[in-house]
Protein backbone atom coordinates (compact mmCIF):
# COMPACT_ATOMS: atom_id res chain seq x y z
CA UNK A 1 0.00 0.00 0.00
CA UNK A 2 1.06 3.60 -0.02
CA UNK A 3 1.39 3.29 -3.79
CA UNK A 4 -1.41 5.75 -4.54
CA UNK A 5 -0.59 8.59 -6.91
CA UNK A 6 -1.17 12.23 -6.04
CA UNK A 7 -1.66 14.46 -9.04
CA UNK A 8 -2.25 18.19 -9.43
CA UNK A 9 -6.00 17.72 -9.09
CA UNK A 10 -5.52 15.95 -5.78
CA UNK A 11 -3.28 18.74 -4.51
CA UNK A 12 -5.91 21.25 -5.60
CA UNK A 13 -8.51 19.38 -3.56
CA UNK A 14 -6.21 19.45 -0.56
CA UNK A 15 -5.49 23.17 -0.82
CA UNK A 16 -9.13 24.01 -1.44
CA UNK A 17 -10.23 21.89 1.52
CA UNK A 18 -7.64 23.67 3.68
CA UNK A 19 -8.89 27.04 2.47
CA UNK A 20 -12.48 26.09 3.36
CA UNK A 21 -11.40 24.84 6.74
CA UNK A 22 -9.43 28.01 7.47
CA UNK A 23 -12.42 30.15 6.48
CA UNK A 24 -14.61 28.09 8.75
CA UNK A 25 -12.20 28.35 11.68
CA UNK A 26 -11.13 31.94 11.03
CA UNK A 27 -12.71 33.31 14.20
CA UNK A 28 -11.28 30.50 16.32
CA UNK A 29 -7.78 31.03 14.98
CA UNK A 30 -8.02 34.75 15.65
CA UNK A 31 -9.43 34.19 19.12
CA UNK A 32 -6.53 31.86 19.98
CA UNK A 33 -4.11 34.47 18.64
CA UNK A 34 -5.81 37.15 20.74
CA UNK A 35 -5.00 35.15 23.86
CA UNK A 36 -1.25 34.96 23.33
CA UNK A 37 -0.60 37.00 20.21
CA UNK A 38 -2.04 39.86 18.19
CA UNK A 39 -5.42 38.57 17.05
CA UNK A 40 -4.73 38.24 13.34
CA UNK A 41 -3.91 34.60 12.63
CA UNK A 42 -7.39 33.80 11.29
CA UNK A 43 -7.42 36.86 9.06
CA UNK A 44 -3.88 36.16 7.88
CA UNK A 45 -4.49 32.55 6.92
CA UNK A 46 -7.84 33.33 5.36
CA UNK A 47 -6.42 36.15 3.27
CA UNK A 48 -3.62 33.88 2.09
CA UNK A 49 -5.69 30.83 1.29
CA UNK A 50 -8.33 32.91 -0.45
CA UNK A 51 -5.56 34.20 -2.69
CA UNK A 52 -4.26 30.67 -3.21
CA UNK A 53 -7.69 29.47 -4.29
CA UNK A 54 -7.93 32.38 -6.73
CA UNK A 55 -4.58 31.28 -8.18
CA UNK A 56 -5.79 27.69 -8.40
CA UNK A 57 -8.88 28.87 -10.27
CA UNK A 58 -6.60 30.53 -12.78
CA UNK A 59 -4.22 27.60 -13.13
CA UNK A 60 -3.81 26.16 -16.58
CA UNK A 61 -4.47 22.48 -17.18
CA UNK A 62 -1.31 20.42 -17.21
CA UNK A 63 0.33 22.29 -14.35
CA UNK A 64 2.59 19.90 -12.48
CA UNK A 65 2.29 19.20 -8.75
CA UNK A 66 5.61 20.98 -8.22
CA UNK A 67 4.44 24.07 -10.09
CA UNK A 68 1.23 24.10 -8.14
CA UNK A 69 3.02 23.86 -4.81
CA UNK A 70 5.42 26.60 -5.81
CA UNK A 71 2.56 28.84 -6.85
CA UNK A 72 0.78 28.20 -3.54
CA UNK A 73 3.93 28.97 -1.59
CA UNK A 74 4.68 32.16 -3.49
CA UNK A 75 1.11 33.31 -3.14
CA UNK A 76 1.25 32.84 0.62
CA UNK A 77 4.56 34.70 0.86
CA UNK A 78 3.08 37.49 -1.25
CA UNK A 79 -0.23 37.92 0.50
CA UNK A 80 0.00 36.88 4.14
CA UNK A 81 2.89 38.69 5.78
CA UNK A 82 3.42 38.28 9.52
CA UNK A 83 5.04 35.10 10.79
CA UNK A 84 2.67 32.68 9.12
CA UNK A 85 3.21 34.06 5.60
CA UNK A 86 6.90 33.21 5.26
CA UNK A 87 6.46 29.99 7.25
CA UNK A 88 3.51 28.48 5.39
CA UNK A 89 4.94 29.93 2.18
CA UNK A 90 8.25 28.19 2.83
CA UNK A 91 6.44 24.94 3.60
CA UNK A 92 4.95 24.78 0.11
CA UNK A 93 7.96 26.31 -1.67
CA UNK A 94 10.21 23.61 -0.20
CA UNK A 95 7.76 20.84 -1.04
CA UNK A 96 7.95 21.77 -4.72
CA UNK A 97 11.49 20.58 -5.63
CA UNK A 98 10.89 17.32 -3.77
CA UNK A 99 7.90 16.73 -6.05
CA UNK A 100 10.14 16.75 -9.12
CA UNK A 101 8.73 17.32 -12.57
CA UNK A 102 6.27 14.44 -12.79
CA UNK A 103 2.52 14.79 -13.33
CA UNK A 104 1.89 12.94 -10.12
CA UNK A 105 3.83 11.72 -7.11
CA UNK A 106 3.45 8.59 -5.04
CA UNK A 107 2.70 8.57 -1.36
CA UNK A 108 6.30 8.16 -0.33
CA UNK A 109 7.39 11.11 -2.42
CA UNK A 110 4.55 13.17 -1.01
CA UNK A 111 5.67 12.31 2.51
CA UNK A 112 9.25 13.26 1.67
CA UNK A 113 8.08 16.51 0.15
CA UNK A 114 6.05 17.33 3.21
CA UNK A 115 9.05 16.49 5.35
CA UNK A 116 11.21 18.81 3.28
CA UNK A 117 8.61 21.52 3.64
CA UNK A 118 8.58 21.19 7.40
CA UNK A 119 12.37 21.24 7.46
CA UNK A 120 12.13 24.48 5.54
CA UNK A 121 9.84 25.91 8.19
CA UNK A 122 12.34 24.93 10.86
CA UNK A 123 15.19 26.46 8.89
CA UNK A 124 13.23 29.70 8.39
CA UNK A 125 11.78 30.02 11.88
CA UNK A 126 14.42 28.25 14.01
CA UNK A 127 11.73 26.71 16.19
CA UNK A 128 12.30 23.42 17.95
CA UNK A 129 9.74 20.96 19.19
CA UNK A 130 7.94 22.23 22.28
CA UNK A 131 8.62 25.88 21.48
CA UNK A 132 4.80 26.09 21.16
CA UNK A 133 4.57 26.70 17.42
CA UNK A 134 3.14 25.13 14.30
CA UNK A 135 6.18 22.84 14.37
CA UNK A 136 4.58 20.99 17.29
CA UNK A 137 1.78 19.89 14.96
CA UNK A 138 3.77 19.55 11.74
CA UNK A 139 6.74 17.47 12.88
CA UNK A 140 4.69 14.69 14.57
CA UNK A 141 2.45 14.65 11.51
CA UNK A 142 5.37 14.04 9.15
CA UNK A 143 6.73 11.37 11.46
CA UNK A 144 3.37 9.59 11.68
CA UNK A 145 2.92 9.77 7.92
CA UNK A 146 6.33 8.32 7.27
CA UNK A 147 5.93 5.63 9.93
CA UNK A 148 2.52 4.61 8.58
CA UNK A 149 3.74 4.34 5.02
CA UNK A 150 6.81 2.44 6.18
CA UNK A 151 4.53 0.03 8.03
CA UNK A 152 2.61 -0.56 4.82
CA UNK A 153 -0.48 1.47 5.63
CA UNK A 154 -2.51 3.03 2.84
CA UNK A 155 -1.98 6.74 2.20
CA UNK A 156 -5.39 7.41 3.69
CA UNK A 157 -4.59 5.42 6.82
CA UNK A 158 -1.21 7.07 7.15
CA UNK A 159 -2.66 10.55 6.67
CA UNK A 160 -5.33 9.82 9.26
CA UNK A 161 -2.60 8.87 11.69
CA UNK A 162 -0.72 12.02 10.71
CA UNK A 163 -3.80 14.10 11.35
CA UNK A 164 -4.28 12.48 14.74
CA UNK A 165 -0.63 13.19 15.52
CA UNK A 166 -1.01 16.82 14.44
CA UNK A 167 -4.08 17.18 16.63
CA UNK A 168 -2.23 15.66 19.56
CA UNK A 169 0.73 17.95 18.92
CA UNK A 170 -1.60 20.93 18.75
CA UNK A 171 -3.23 19.96 22.06
CA UNK A 172 0.16 19.42 23.61
CA UNK A 173 1.02 23.07 23.00
CA UNK A 174 -1.46 24.12 25.66
CA UNK A 175 0.73 23.57 28.75
CA UNK A 176 3.91 24.79 27.07
CA UNK A 177 5.76 28.05 27.64
CA UNK A 178 6.18 29.71 24.23
CA UNK A 179 9.77 30.27 23.16
CA UNK A 180 9.26 31.45 19.60
CA UNK A 181 6.97 33.93 17.89
CA UNK A 182 4.91 36.58 19.52
CA UNK A 183 3.63 34.34 22.31
CA UNK A 184 7.18 34.13 23.69
CA UNK A 185 6.80 37.72 24.95
CA UNK A 186 4.33 36.41 27.47
CA UNK A 187 6.74 34.04 29.15
CA UNK A 188 4.91 31.97 31.77
CA UNK A 189 1.66 33.71 30.88
CA UNK A 190 1.57 31.74 27.62
CA UNK A 191 0.91 28.54 29.60
CA UNK A 192 -2.63 27.22 29.27
CA UNK A 193 -3.29 28.54 25.77
CA UNK A 194 -3.37 26.57 22.54
CA UNK A 195 -1.00 27.82 19.86
CA UNK A 196 -2.87 29.31 16.88
CA UNK A 197 -0.27 28.24 14.31
CA UNK A 198 -0.30 24.66 15.58
CA UNK A 199 -4.07 24.81 15.27
CA UNK A 200 -4.02 25.92 11.63
CA UNK A 201 -1.29 23.36 10.91
CA UNK A 202 -3.52 20.62 12.29
CA UNK A 203 -6.25 21.83 9.92
CA UNK A 204 -3.78 21.55 7.05
CA UNK A 205 -3.01 17.92 7.87
CA UNK A 206 -6.68 17.13 8.45
CA UNK A 207 -7.47 18.58 5.03
CA UNK A 208 -4.86 16.26 3.53
CA UNK A 209 -6.39 13.24 5.29
CA UNK A 210 -9.84 14.11 4.04
CA UNK A 211 -8.82 14.70 0.43
CA UNK A 212 -5.60 13.01 -0.62
CA UNK A 213 -6.26 9.48 0.51
CA UNK A 214 -9.87 9.72 -0.62
CA UNK A 215 -9.71 11.36 -4.01
CA UNK A 216 -7.10 8.99 -5.34
CA UNK A 217 -8.77 6.02 -3.64
CA UNK A 218 -7.16 4.21 -0.68
Amino acid sequence: MGDEQIDAAALQSWLRAFARSVAEHKATLTALDAEIGDADHGANMDRGMTAVVAELDATEPGTTPAALLKKAGMTLVRTVGGASGPLYGTLFLRMAPAAGTADSVDAGTFAKALGAGVEGVVARGKAELEDKTMIDALTPAVEALEAGLAAGDSLQEALRAASAAADAGRDATIPLVARKGRASYLGERSIGHQDPGATSAALLVAAAASTLGVVVGG
Binding site: E35, R47, V77, G81, G82, A83, L87, K180, G181, R182
Partner: protein, 334 residues
Protein backbone atom coordinates in the same frame (compact mmCIF):
# COMPACT_ATOMS: atom_id res chain seq x y z
CA UNK B 1 -16.67 48.11 17.69
CA UNK B 2 -17.01 51.76 16.73
CA UNK B 3 -14.35 53.12 14.44
CA UNK B 4 -14.01 55.64 11.64
CA UNK B 5 -13.73 52.97 8.96
CA UNK B 6 -15.68 51.57 6.04
CA UNK B 7 -15.09 47.88 5.38
CA UNK B 8 -12.47 46.74 7.94
CA UNK B 9 -10.71 44.88 5.12
CA UNK B 10 -9.95 48.21 3.40
CA UNK B 11 -8.65 50.13 6.40
CA UNK B 12 -5.00 50.18 5.45
CA UNK B 13 -5.33 51.20 1.83
CA UNK B 14 -8.04 53.77 2.55
CA UNK B 15 -5.93 55.32 5.26
CA UNK B 16 -2.93 55.48 2.92
CA UNK B 17 -5.16 57.20 0.37
CA UNK B 18 -5.77 59.89 2.98
CA UNK B 19 -2.05 60.13 3.69
CA UNK B 20 -1.40 60.62 -0.02
CA UNK B 21 -4.00 63.37 -0.30
CA UNK B 22 -2.89 65.10 2.88
CA UNK B 23 0.82 65.30 2.04
CA UNK B 24 1.25 65.76 -1.71
CA UNK B 25 4.34 67.95 -1.18
CA UNK B 26 6.11 65.55 1.14
CA UNK B 27 5.09 62.09 -0.02
CA UNK B 28 4.32 59.90 -3.01
CA UNK B 29 2.17 56.87 -2.28
CA UNK B 30 1.99 53.63 -4.26
CA UNK B 31 -1.43 52.43 -3.18
CA UNK B 32 -1.25 49.11 -5.02
CA UNK B 33 1.91 48.12 -3.20
CA UNK B 34 1.15 50.12 -0.08
CA UNK B 35 4.45 51.92 -0.13
CA UNK B 36 4.92 55.50 1.01
CA UNK B 37 7.93 57.24 -0.60
CA UNK B 38 9.40 60.63 0.10
CA UNK B 39 8.41 62.81 -2.82
CA UNK B 40 11.92 63.08 -4.27
CA UNK B 41 12.99 59.43 -3.91
CA UNK B 42 15.37 58.04 -4.99
CA UNK B 43 17.90 60.55 -3.73
CA UNK B 44 21.07 59.95 -5.75
CA UNK B 45 24.18 59.35 -3.71
CA UNK B 46 22.34 59.10 -0.42
CA UNK B 47 21.99 55.87 1.52
CA UNK B 48 18.34 54.87 1.33
CA UNK B 49 16.35 54.09 4.46
CA UNK B 50 13.46 51.67 4.35
CA UNK B 51 11.26 50.59 7.18
CA UNK B 52 7.79 49.19 7.49
CA UNK B 53 5.69 46.86 9.52
CA UNK B 54 2.14 46.08 10.37
CA UNK B 55 -0.26 49.02 10.27
CA UNK B 56 -1.90 50.36 13.41
CA UNK B 57 1.21 52.10 14.81
CA UNK B 58 0.79 55.43 13.04
CA UNK B 59 2.56 57.81 12.70
CA UNK B 60 5.14 54.98 12.59
CA UNK B 61 6.24 54.32 9.81
CA UNK B 62 4.47 56.27 7.06
CA UNK B 63 4.50 59.46 9.12
CA UNK B 64 8.28 59.34 9.34
CA UNK B 65 8.96 59.34 5.62
CA UNK B 66 10.61 62.48 4.35
CA UNK B 67 13.80 64.46 4.34
CA UNK B 68 16.04 63.52 7.24
CA UNK B 69 14.24 60.28 8.02
CA UNK B 70 12.94 57.40 5.89
CA UNK B 71 12.97 57.23 2.11
CA UNK B 72 10.08 54.80 2.15
CA UNK B 73 7.83 52.77 4.39
CA UNK B 74 5.93 49.57 3.59
CA UNK B 75 2.55 49.15 5.24
CA UNK B 76 1.31 45.69 6.15
CA UNK B 77 -2.17 44.72 7.23
CA UNK B 78 -3.07 45.84 10.73
CA UNK B 79 -0.49 44.29 13.09
CA UNK B 80 0.84 42.07 10.29
CA UNK B 81 4.27 42.52 8.77
CA UNK B 82 4.29 43.56 5.11
CA UNK B 83 5.42 40.99 2.56
CA UNK B 84 8.81 40.63 0.81
CA UNK B 85 7.43 41.83 -2.53
CA UNK B 86 6.61 45.21 -1.07
CA UNK B 87 10.01 45.57 0.51
CA UNK B 88 11.78 44.50 -2.65
CA UNK B 89 9.79 46.94 -4.75
CA UNK B 90 10.50 49.78 -2.32
CA UNK B 91 14.18 48.92 -2.05
CA UNK B 92 14.49 49.05 -5.83
CA UNK B 93 12.76 52.37 -6.13
CA UNK B 94 14.47 54.22 -3.33
CA UNK B 95 18.00 53.00 -3.97
CA UNK B 96 20.18 56.00 -4.65
CA UNK B 97 23.10 53.88 -5.79
CA UNK B 98 24.96 53.67 -2.51
CA UNK B 99 23.01 51.01 -0.68
CA UNK B 100 19.87 50.67 1.39
CA UNK B 101 19.35 50.22 5.11
CA UNK B 102 16.40 48.12 6.25
CA UNK B 103 15.16 49.10 9.69
CA UNK B 104 13.33 46.11 11.08
CA UNK B 105 11.46 45.80 14.35
CA UNK B 106 12.26 42.52 16.04
CA UNK B 107 9.15 40.44 15.46
CA UNK B 108 9.35 37.00 13.94
CA UNK B 109 7.16 38.04 11.02
CA UNK B 110 8.95 41.29 10.29
CA UNK B 111 12.37 39.71 10.52
CA UNK B 112 11.50 36.80 8.23
CA UNK B 113 9.76 38.95 5.63
CA UNK B 114 12.56 41.52 5.58
CA UNK B 115 15.12 38.71 5.40
CA UNK B 116 13.43 37.26 2.35
CA UNK B 117 13.27 40.71 0.80
CA UNK B 118 16.95 41.35 1.44
CA UNK B 119 17.83 37.99 -0.09
CA UNK B 120 15.75 38.81 -3.16
CA UNK B 121 17.20 42.31 -3.39
CA UNK B 122 20.72 40.91 -3.43
CA UNK B 123 20.02 37.97 -5.74
CA UNK B 124 17.53 39.41 -8.20
CA UNK B 125 18.38 43.06 -8.22
CA UNK B 126 21.98 43.10 -7.10
CA UNK B 127 21.25 45.75 -4.53
CA UNK B 128 23.33 46.34 -1.43
CA UNK B 129 21.15 45.96 1.65
CA UNK B 130 22.09 46.06 5.31
CA UNK B 131 19.49 45.26 7.94
CA UNK B 132 19.31 46.55 11.48
CA UNK B 133 16.96 44.88 13.90
CA UNK B 134 15.45 47.00 16.67
CA UNK B 135 14.85 45.33 20.03
CA UNK B 136 14.51 47.80 22.86
CA UNK B 137 11.62 46.46 24.94
CA UNK B 138 12.82 45.47 28.39
CA UNK B 139 9.44 43.92 29.20
CA UNK B 140 10.61 40.91 27.23
CA UNK B 141 13.36 38.68 28.56
CA UNK B 142 16.24 38.63 26.15
CA UNK B 143 17.43 35.14 25.34
CA UNK B 144 19.06 33.20 22.55
CA UNK B 145 16.29 30.62 22.76
CA UNK B 146 13.33 32.93 22.23
CA UNK B 147 12.24 35.50 19.67
CA UNK B 148 14.10 38.02 21.80
CA UNK B 149 13.05 41.52 22.65
CA UNK B 150 10.45 43.47 20.72
CA UNK B 151 11.18 46.64 18.81
CA UNK B 152 9.07 49.52 20.10
CA UNK B 153 9.80 53.20 20.86
CA UNK B 154 13.46 53.11 19.82
CA UNK B 155 12.36 52.51 16.23
CA UNK B 156 11.40 56.14 15.87
CA UNK B 157 14.73 57.24 17.29
CA UNK B 158 16.69 54.98 14.95
CA UNK B 159 14.73 56.27 11.98
CA UNK B 160 15.43 59.87 12.93
CA UNK B 161 19.10 59.49 13.82
CA UNK B 162 20.11 57.12 11.04
CA UNK B 163 18.06 59.30 8.69
CA UNK B 164 20.08 62.33 9.69
CA UNK B 165 23.32 60.39 9.26
CA UNK B 166 22.28 59.38 5.73
CA UNK B 167 21.33 62.95 4.93
CA UNK B 168 24.81 64.03 6.02
CA UNK B 169 26.24 61.76 3.34
CA UNK B 170 27.48 58.92 5.55
CA UNK B 171 27.99 55.60 3.71
CA UNK B 172 25.92 52.49 4.29
CA UNK B 173 28.23 51.07 6.93
CA UNK B 174 28.29 54.39 8.73
CA UNK B 175 24.53 54.80 8.68
CA UNK B 176 24.02 51.21 9.85
CA UNK B 177 26.50 51.93 12.60
CA UNK B 178 24.47 54.85 13.90
CA UNK B 179 21.33 52.73 13.77
CA UNK B 180 22.94 49.93 15.78
CA UNK B 181 24.42 52.34 18.26
CA UNK B 182 21.02 53.91 18.87
CA UNK B 183 19.41 50.52 19.31
CA UNK B 184 22.14 49.40 21.67
CA UNK B 185 21.71 52.49 23.83
CA UNK B 186 17.92 52.64 23.95
CA UNK B 187 15.46 50.79 26.17
CA UNK B 188 11.68 50.94 26.50
CA UNK B 189 8.85 49.78 28.71
CA UNK B 190 5.11 50.18 28.12
CA UNK B 191 1.78 49.80 29.87
CA UNK B 192 -1.87 49.73 28.90
CA UNK B 193 -4.98 51.11 30.55
CA UNK B 194 -7.16 49.43 27.93
CA UNK B 195 -6.84 46.91 25.14
CA UNK B 196 -6.94 47.89 21.51
CA UNK B 197 -9.48 46.60 19.02
CA UNK B 198 -8.24 45.19 15.72
CA UNK B 199 -10.75 46.31 13.04
CA UNK B 200 -10.96 42.87 11.42
CA UNK B 201 -11.69 41.23 14.77
CA UNK B 202 -14.09 43.90 15.94
CA UNK B 203 -13.71 43.34 19.67
CA UNK B 204 -10.93 44.11 22.16
CA UNK B 205 -7.92 41.78 21.98
CA UNK B 206 -7.94 41.34 25.74
CA UNK B 207 -10.31 42.15 28.56
CA UNK B 208 -8.97 44.47 31.18
CA UNK B 209 -11.25 45.22 34.12
CA UNK B 210 -11.79 48.81 35.28
CA UNK B 211 -9.57 48.09 38.28
CA UNK B 212 -6.48 46.76 36.52
CA UNK B 213 -3.74 47.76 34.11
CA UNK B 214 -1.31 45.70 32.04
CA UNK B 215 2.39 46.37 32.50
CA UNK B 216 5.00 45.33 29.96
CA UNK B 217 2.73 45.37 26.92
CA UNK B 218 3.93 45.57 23.34
CA UNK B 219 2.39 47.47 20.46
CA UNK B 220 0.20 44.72 19.00
CA UNK B 221 -2.37 44.26 21.72
CA UNK B 222 -0.43 41.30 23.03
CA UNK B 223 -1.02 40.99 26.77
CA UNK B 224 1.73 42.33 29.01
CA UNK B 225 3.99 40.64 31.49
CA UNK B 226 1.73 41.21 34.43
CA UNK B 227 -1.52 42.70 35.51
CA UNK B 228 -1.56 45.03 38.48
CA UNK B 229 -4.21 47.13 40.20
CA UNK B 230 -4.82 50.62 38.82
CA UNK B 231 -2.21 52.96 40.27
CA UNK B 232 -1.49 56.69 40.32
CA UNK B 233 0.61 58.09 37.46
CA UNK B 234 3.51 58.51 39.86
CA UNK B 235 3.65 54.77 40.53
CA UNK B 236 3.09 53.86 36.90
CA UNK B 237 6.04 56.06 35.95
CA UNK B 238 8.14 54.16 38.46
CA UNK B 239 7.04 50.82 36.96
CA UNK B 240 8.23 51.99 33.55
CA UNK B 241 11.35 53.95 34.42
CA UNK B 242 12.91 51.59 36.96
CA UNK B 243 13.35 48.56 34.66
CA UNK B 244 14.63 50.78 31.86
CA UNK B 245 17.24 52.41 34.07
CA UNK B 246 18.33 49.07 35.47
CA UNK B 247 18.55 47.32 32.14
CA UNK B 248 20.85 49.76 30.42
CA UNK B 249 22.67 50.53 33.62
CA UNK B 250 22.09 54.25 33.24
CA UNK B 251 24.15 56.08 35.78
CA UNK B 252 24.61 59.48 37.27
CA UNK B 253 25.75 61.97 34.70
CA UNK B 254 24.33 60.16 31.69
CA UNK B 255 22.55 62.44 29.26
CA UNK B 256 19.47 60.94 27.70
CA UNK B 257 16.71 61.53 25.24
CA UNK B 258 13.44 60.78 27.03
CA UNK B 259 10.40 59.77 25.00
CA UNK B 260 7.00 59.49 26.63
CA UNK B 261 4.93 57.85 23.96
CA UNK B 262 1.14 57.56 23.79
CA UNK B 263 -0.37 54.25 22.68
CA UNK B 264 -3.01 55.86 20.47
CA UNK B 265 -5.91 56.84 22.69
CA UNK B 266 -4.13 58.69 25.47
CA UNK B 267 -4.76 62.44 25.66
CA UNK B 268 -1.77 64.78 25.66
CA UNK B 269 -2.95 66.12 29.03
CA UNK B 270 -2.10 62.73 30.53
CA UNK B 271 1.07 62.20 28.51
CA UNK B 272 2.57 65.47 29.71
CA UNK B 273 1.59 64.63 33.25
CA UNK B 274 3.42 61.32 32.83
CA UNK B 275 6.39 63.15 31.36
CA UNK B 276 6.52 65.28 34.49
CA UNK B 277 6.65 62.15 36.63
CA UNK B 278 9.27 60.50 34.42
CA UNK B 279 11.45 63.60 34.45
CA UNK B 280 11.23 63.77 38.22
CA UNK B 281 12.35 60.14 38.54
CA UNK B 282 15.25 60.70 36.16
CA UNK B 283 16.33 63.74 38.12
CA UNK B 284 16.31 61.65 41.27
CA UNK B 285 18.46 59.04 39.52
CA UNK B 286 20.96 61.70 38.45
CA UNK B 287 20.20 61.16 34.78
CA UNK B 288 20.04 64.37 32.74
CA UNK B 289 17.39 64.80 30.10
CA UNK B 290 19.11 66.44 27.15
CA UNK B 291 16.29 66.06 24.62
CA UNK B 292 12.68 64.98 25.03
CA UNK B 293 9.64 64.01 23.02
CA UNK B 294 6.06 63.65 24.22
CA UNK B 295 3.19 62.42 22.10
CA UNK B 296 1.72 59.48 20.22
CA UNK B 297 4.52 58.23 17.97
CA UNK B 298 4.58 54.44 18.13
CA UNK B 299 0.99 53.49 18.79
CA UNK B 300 -1.21 50.45 19.08
CA UNK B 301 -4.48 51.42 17.39
CA UNK B 302 -6.91 52.72 20.01
CA UNK B 303 -5.08 51.46 23.07
CA UNK B 304 -4.93 53.82 26.06
CA UNK B 305 -1.61 53.77 27.83
CA UNK B 306 1.95 54.87 27.33
CA UNK B 307 5.54 53.78 27.08
CA UNK B 308 8.81 55.31 28.15
CA UNK B 309 11.95 55.09 26.02
CA UNK B 310 15.36 56.32 27.14
CA UNK B 311 18.27 56.71 24.78
CA UNK B 312 21.74 57.41 26.12
CA UNK B 313 23.08 60.30 24.07
CA UNK B 314 26.52 61.34 22.97
CA UNK B 315 27.41 64.60 21.23
CA UNK B 316 27.05 63.12 17.79
CA UNK B 317 23.61 61.74 18.51
CA UNK B 318 22.50 65.11 19.85
CA UNK B 319 23.69 66.77 16.67
CA UNK B 320 21.91 64.19 14.51
CA UNK B 321 18.73 64.61 16.58
CA UNK B 322 18.77 68.36 16.05
CA UNK B 323 19.37 68.06 12.31
CA UNK B 324 16.46 69.16 10.10
CA UNK B 325 13.63 66.70 9.54
CA UNK B 326 10.61 67.19 7.33
CA UNK B 327 8.04 64.42 7.70
CA UNK B 328 4.33 64.43 8.53
CA UNK B 329 5.03 63.14 12.03
CA UNK B 330 8.27 64.86 13.01
CA UNK B 331 9.37 68.19 11.69
CA UNK B 332 11.87 70.84 12.58
CA UNK B 333 14.73 72.85 11.24
CA UNK B 334 13.09 73.44 7.86
Amino acid sequence: MKKLVNDPADVVVESLRGVAKAHPQLLRVDLDNRIVYRADAPVRGKVGLLSGGGSGHEPLHSGFVGRGMLDAACAGEVFTSPVPDQMLEATRNLDGGVGVLHIVKNYTGDVMNFDMAAELAAEEAGLEVTSVVIDDDVAVQDSLYTAGRRGVGATLLVEKLAGAAAEEGRDLAGVADVARRVNANARSMGMALTSCTVPAKGSPTFDLPETEIEVGIGIHGEPGRRRVPVAPAREIAEMLVAPVLTDLDFTTGDGVLALVNGMGATPLLELYLMYGEVAALLEKAGVTVVRSLVGPFVTSLDMAGCSVTLLRLDDELVRLWDAPVVTPGLRWGA
